[in-house]
Symmetry: C2
Subunit: 149 residues, 2 copies
């Protein structure tokens, strides 16, 4: 798993919010129900994004959360870095410290190429693009199967 589960939840939540163009504040409860993510846990995760100024929140009736800036200016890597940190973009695939062009592991050169592609994908993909894809209806951000309960 390249992204933590926490980060997956965060991404999907922000996808959902971004896809609600017109609306202002979306209650976390609604997001949690639509995406089938534990409300309390999601609340916690989104607090991190609010503190990182990626989202803004508003308490009280008609409250909820909203993007802090236009979806065009938020990239996937903003979320991934806020939740999981930058390590996926820097880390050695074998977990070695200071693996770089100077002291490479045997897979460094090959892995670096792939890692850069991941970074490039996450950097260049904005939530505006993803929101459009979702709203065109051909892509989903929910599970097909409900969790076992």
């Amino acid at each position: 798993m390249i992204l933590s589960k926490t980060c997956d939840y965060a991404m999907r939540a922000v996808f959902y919010i971004a896809a609600q163009k017109e609306r202002k504040f979306i209650p976390i409860r609604e997001v949690s129900e639509k995406l089938d993510i534990s409300f309390h846990f999601l609340t916690k995760i989104l607090q991190v994004l609010t503190r990182a100024h990626i989202l803004v929140s508003f308490k009280g009736p008609n409250g909820g959360i909203a993007l802090a800036c236009p979806a065009e200016s938020i990239s996937l890597s903003d979320i991934s870095k806020a939740i999981d940190g930058s390590k996926i973009y820097e880390e050695c695939i074998l977990g070695l410290d200071q693996c770089g062009d100077e002291n490479p592991c045997p897979l460094h050169n090959e892995w670096k190429r792939i890692r850069d592609q991941i970074q490039n994908l996450f950097d260049k993909t904005t939530f505006a693009e993803v929101a459009e894809k979702i709203n065109c209806g051909e892509f989903r951000i929910t599970n097909l199967l409900k969790k076992n309960k």
Copy 2:
């Protein structure tokens, strides 16, 4: 982290063994000391590889572990699958179930391309190649810094 820490240890251990061309059975203790991995933990991990018939083991004096087949015929993905399973080659980056060409998530197409490259790298890279790289001395499989103790 794309590979679990356990899998990283396994990879490095097999790298080490593969790099000892001439020798037969290498004691796990030696591997654990050279790579600075907990002996008992490494033992556990390598048992999995032995049960998967990637390694063979021999108890008693002059015992140890060795590759079960020539290093040319063991690929990185053999180890990764034995330890972590195949999920990294199949999983959705957002953690959604059944994300494929039929019910894609918004990142499916892009992620699939990258995931296939990872699979390709792991499938095509054999331990013979890596062993050669290690023996030529330009690549390392150990940490530079000792763990905090």
